[in-house]
């Protein structure tokens, strides 16, 4: 390598390293994923990224984190241009977020939260009211189905969180299912869509759990963007998502996601979550 080229390469690398965190590249779109979906399927995400990239005209990459807060941090810092988060953080941080799209699950932008227990668990665990002195697994502090719903239901049945024997966050809905299956927890608060998708894929953890309670329908976890920094190709990304159900490749990818499509969505769809959060102390959402 020539000396001049070598110096140029080192200089380019140095400039990349010291560039501002918020200076996201416009020739690629980065989408953050949370455990609202089964996001650790690298081959699928790669195919989906190539599909969306072809539709949008720029590269589309997915960035997965097991913590909702991590993805939000990436979104605030501009490292991701969009994020698939949950309805609860959407209503909590709605002032700083724009709704990009709302997935359609079984044709509707709705899902349910489940309370699950391990199969063959001790008798007497049939619902929220039986969780006193039991171990409960949550998904994430910013998950609607994995925390907020549980807080509301425990309050509803008159059980204070400290009356549980123990409660812990499993960092993802899938881990909740596995914790309950392994009997690390007596029960788990989980996203119904994730549990059903796991069941569809024949995951062993689901076979060892059973649903003992289902919530009312809530708005499906949405894809959002940061309100103050929108990627120039964001609208094309939205169009690509909304158009997935219209072509075979998109439908095949949606099938892998156990979804039927994407809708534009509306903030009002999240009112039920908003109301629920307002009832939970410390939710960060006020009426």
């Amino acid at each position: 390598m020539r000396r001049r080229e070598c110096i140029a390469s080192v200089a380019a690398a140095t400039l990349w390293a010291v560039r501002p965190a918020t200076a996201a590249r416009v020739d690629r779109l980065q989408v953050g994923l949370t455990p609202v979906i089964l996001a650790d399927q690298i081959a699928f995400l790669s195919r989906w990224g190539r599909y969306l990239g072809a539709q949008v005209g720029v590269e589309v990459h997915f960035v997965a984190r097991e913590s909702y807060q991590s993805i939000l941090d990436l979104l605030w810092s501009g490292h991701v241009d969009a994020a698939w988060i949950c309805g609860y953080p959407f209503v909590r941080f709605e002032a700083d977020l724009n709704l990009l799209a709302v997935p359609l699950y079984q044709g509707d932008p709705l899902y349910q939260a489940y309370l699950i227990r391990s199969t063959g668990a001790p008798e007497g665990l049939r619902g929220w009211g039986d969780l006193k002195d039991r171990v409960l697994a949550y998904s994430d502090p910013l998950s609607n189905s994995g925390w907020l719903v549980a807080q509301a239901q425990l309050a509803n049945v008159g059980i204070a969180p400290r009356e549980l024997k123990r409660a812990f966050f499993a960092h993802g809905h899938r881990n909740v299912a596995e914790a309950v299956a392994a009997r690390l927890a007596h029960a788990g608060s989980i996203d119904g869509y994730v549990w059903e998708t796991m069941r569809l894929q024949g995951m062993p953890a689901v076979a060892k759990t059973e649903v003992i309670w289902k919530s009312e329908p809530f708005a499906f976890p949405p894809l959002v963007t940061a309100r103050r920094a929108t990627h120039p190709h964001m609208e094309r990304l939205r169009a690509a998502l909304l158009g997935m159900a219209n072509d075979p490749v998109g439908r095949e990818l949606l099938g892998s996601l156990n979804l039927s499509g994407f809708s534009a969505g509306a903030s009002s769809q999240f009112d039920s979550i908003r109301r629920q959060a307002a009832l939970v102390p410390g939710s960060g959402v006020t009426g």
């Binding site: 171990v135 697994a137 123990r166 812990f168 966050f169 881990n175 392994a182 009997r183 690390l184 927890a185």
Partner: protein
């Protein structure tokens, strides 16, 4: 049972059995040692797993992150023998001794208090009592270990509880048995044939020695000596030398026997020849005298006739004596006649005159004589000649031939020194084969015995020697062969 088998089978079989027993023993000892080593390896592996867990789990406990602790234990338990089959488990206990998370939550329930409470019917130390590792060896062989987890400043954050059931330490008998069977099968397949071959090789010289010994007595020892196997083994070499020596001695003994037999035959031939010569020689002097008489007085018809008769009878006697040596020849013999004694006296008178011995004889025959003439003439001749010798010069010899219906007796008495009964017996015995000079008495005894009679010394008349030859008077001459 082994003792009933041939020696040449016992040795190879014994070697093969020794190989088999050695293989089984070595396999057994190896299995025992490997079992002990396996227990040490499991405990050592547990130590490393605990060290790994303690290093990893501190921040998770500080963050109160049950799931991550569970995931750590679940992954670490993959390294612990028996965890996959539910026979070993790891748990993190909080500072109060309650289960924070366990690799097998079904058995160690989350939130369950353990320390300070009975565990498997045994008391466990309280959290404050645990300074260092506590190892609780259960009676059934299972192991429970409790290791404290401390922060950098020495604060106890919790404990690692490790429990391994006894079954994990139990030997894997099917696997060991498979290995043992493989080892034994290899030993049987490889070493037993080698042992058998070595045993066969060891016993081969013994077998050849046995074969040689079995042929002793049936084959020539000089040939057998070459068949004795040569071996470097000192013991077998000594046996081989002993067998060779034995065969040499047998060979020498056989040669000696052959020589002895040859000598005995020669001696027998010699004795026979001497006896025949003696019997022929006895009448010869008389016959020669007769020819002299014939030459001098042959003109007289009477003398010539009597002399020729004498010659005829003497020659007939010689012929009969020679014929006795021919087993197949059958000789015709005439019966004894009273004149035969006179013939014999005439034949010996020449010798008697040389010794100046007086011969007196008497014949008392009251019955027909039915005994063969040749043996009786021989007896009379022998006894008269012996008596003349015994009487010595100027001695007197008296002979008497008696016969009645049952007995024919010939007695000879001489005036010489009396013969004792002992001397008579010893003379007969000495003449029986070793003294070729005087066969007279021995031949008389033999003839008496042959004709069913007796020949003995009459000891009733002291001061003289009287020999009595007596045979039954009943044998027809034609019966004599």
């Amino acid at each position: 049972m082994l003792g009933r088998l041939p020696y040449r089978v016992q040795i190879p079989l014994g070697l093969s059995l020794a190989v088999l027993i050695a293989a089984i023993l070595v396999t057994g000892i190896t299995a025992r040692v490997s079992t002990q080593n396996a227990r040490q390896e499991i405990l050592s592996l547990l130590d490393r797993a605990v060290v790994l867990v303690i290093a990893q789990v501190r921040p998770m406990m500080v963050a109160d992150d049950t799931w991550r602790v569970f995931a750590l234990l679940r992954d670490t338990a993959e390294l612990v023998p028996g965890a996959a089959t539910g026979q070993a488990r790891l748990a993190i206990l909080d500072a109060e001794g309650r289960v924070f998370a366990a690799s097998d939550p079904a058995k160690l329930e989350t939130g369950r208090g353990l320390l300070g409470k009975p565990w498997r019917d045994q008391p466990t130390p309280t959290p404050s009592e645990i300074i260092d590792r506590q190892r609780l060896d259960q009676g059934d062989g299972s192991v429970v270990m409790v290791d404290p987890i401390r922060s950098e400043d020495g604060q106890t954050l919790g404990f690692v509880l490790t429990e391994v059931d006894a079954a994990v330490f139990a030997p894997d008998w099917p696997s060991l048995a498979k290995t043992a069977l493989l080892a034994i099968a290899l030993a049987v397949a490889l070493l037993v044939p080698v042992g058998w071959w070595v045993g066969q090789r060891m016993t081969r010289p013994v077998g050849r020695l046995v074969a040689v010994i079995e042929r002793i007595g049936r084959e020539d020892p000089s040939k057998l000596r070459g068949a004795v196997p040569a071996t470097k083994d000192p013991e077998l070499s000594r046996i081989g030398d002993a067998v060779s020596q034995l065969m040499g001695e047998l060979e020498q003994r056989k040669l000696a026997e052959d020589r002895a037999l040859s000598a005995e035959r020669l001696a027998a031939v010699g004795r026979m020849t001497a006896a025949v010569a003696h019997e022929i020689n006895n009448p010869l002097a008389g016959l020669l005298t007769a020819t002299q008489t014939l030459r001098l007085h042959g003109r007289s018809d009477d003398i010539r006739t009597r002399t020729l008769d004498l010659l005829d009878r003497g020659l007939q006697q010689i012929r009969t004596t020679v014929a006795a040596l021919l087993p197949q020849a059958r000789m015709d013999d005439r019966p004894l006649e009273p004149g035969d004694l006179e013939d014999i006296v005439t034949l010996v008178r020449v010798s008697a005159s040389k010794l100046q011995v007086e011969i007196r004889f008497r014949v008392d025959v009251d019955s027909a004589l039915r005994v063969p003439s040749a043996p009786l003439r021989q007896v009379m001749l022998n006894l008269l000649l012996n008596a003349m010798k015994a009487a010595g010069e100027h001695g007197v010899v008296s002979a008497r031939l008696e016969a009645d219906e049952t007995q024919v007796t010939f007695c000879v008495t001489n005036s010489g020194p009396p013969l004792s009964a002992e001397k008579f017996r010893s003379t007969l015995a000495a003449e029986s084969g070793r003294d070729p000079r005087g066969f007279g008495l021995w031949v008389c005894q033999e003839l008496a015995s042959h004709h069913g009679g007796r020949f003995e010394l009459d000891t009733t008349q002291p001061g003289q020697t009287r020999l009595v030859f007596q045979v039954p008077n009943r044998e027809a001459p034609e019966e004599t062969t």
